[in-house]
Amino acid sequence: MSAVGVLLRREMALAWGRGGGPLLAVGFFTAATTMLPLAVGPSPAHLAAVAGGVTWVALVLASLLSLERLFARDFEDGALDLIALGPLPLEAAAAVKCLAQWLAAGAPLALAAPLAAVALGARPAAGPMIAVAAALGGLAFAFVGGAGAALALSSRRGGVLIAVVVLPLLAPPVIFGGAAVGACEAGLAWGAAFALLAAYALAAVALAPFAMAAACRNALS
């Protein structure tokens, strides 16, 4: 357990220390959602219609921002060797890194999401539901994105590969999350879409660590 704690604390310190994780993600998210009224005009009816969807799109893009460095940093300076030779299996270490990524970027974004959505005209009553959906979605983004980041290690243009590999895999949580938020907005039943979002997030948490560990081993060899 202490091995997990040691790694988690370092990852969090790295994410917060350089101002990258939370500030970058939330800053980007805020910028993207405040640009919308400037682009489509301030009509409340227009904005309220797309508030949920735009929030969700900005959420995905903001989550992807700092992913590229998730494994590349440790790979370049040799720390991934140490992590691979540490007491934790590589699968667990990869999961811890993604969890730290979620804590540093996904959780702050989940707090910012309802504010942005409500500012754009969503019903305030939908706020808590949007926050929970964003937190779940963020978990999926962090783990699926982590798998992309690990796969990109052994290639030179890693960033492009992450976008190509990861974006299709992020389509389901965007569809389910956007649908759940939209339905909640409209006062319809949103349970089904929400359950699918949760299922996708849990599947990502369960499966992605194996993909990440295999990709890291491949890059290290």
Partner: protein, 204 residues
């Protein structure tokens, strides 16, 4: 605890090229082996094969403990240190933080990490960010984890290259103590090690 390392008929292929084949040697507790050979002979690859990062094309690596053969991955995770070309230090963090992280990660304690830093005469350098340290100082910081988190097999890749004469002598003492305590050292080197070591030549 690893009491013996056996390398049996090892061959490593990188891409299309066969780096070496049929390399066999053993390493008992208290012994050091210096791997020598020209650039590109496969010294680093051999170390990484022992560490489990590279799958050998042929042959195998066996770790033998006091009670018989160990499961290789378990032995690597519990009883093996690797010092590579890169020191694995995050340059934006304070030296002390990285040292304590690396030590605890390898199963050692904070107090031991700080004692090791004293031993390698890092002193106040620990308060600086890693990027402010010279190559030799970074290497000394990385070597601290060998002392602070005791593990029996040390895999060292050019451990002395960036060090000055005084640090080399100091680390020589550390290696000597490790061997006398029943440790094993496998080091890829160009310069001779400051301790008694059997030489295994690759690509010769």
């Amino acid at each position: 605890m690893i009491a013996r390392l056996d390398i049996e008929g090892l061959a490593v292929r990188r891409g299309e090229r066969l780096l070496f084949a049929g390399v066999s040697f053993g390493l008992a507790a208290g012994e050091a082996v210096a791997l020598t050979g020209p650039n590109g002979a496969g010294k680093t690859s051999l170390l990484r094969a022992v560490a489990g990062f590279i799958r050998p094309a042929q042959g195998r690596v066996r770790f033998i403990g006091a009670a018989g053969e160990l499961e290789p991955d378990e032995a690597r995770r519990r009883a093996c240190h690797l010092i590579g070309h890169q020191d694995g230090l995050e340059t934006s963090r304070i030296g002390r933080e990285e040292l304590v992280f690396q030590t605890r990660r390898a199963g050692g304690r904070q107090a031991a990490a700080l004692a090791a830093a004293d031993r390698l005469e890092l002193g106040r350098l620990l308060d600086l960010e890693v990027r402010m340290l010279s190559a030799g100082q970074r290497r000394r910081l990385a070597l601290c984890r060998l002392i602070a988190a005791p593990r029996s097999l040390w895999l060292l890749d050019e451990p002395l290259a960036p060090l000055d004469a005084m640090s080399r002598a100091l680390f020589g003492q550390v290696m000597d103590e490790h061997l006398r305590g029943g440790g094993l050292i496998l080091a890829a080197v160009h310069d001779p090690l400051p301790i008694a070591a059997r030489i295994v030549e690759l690509g010769g």
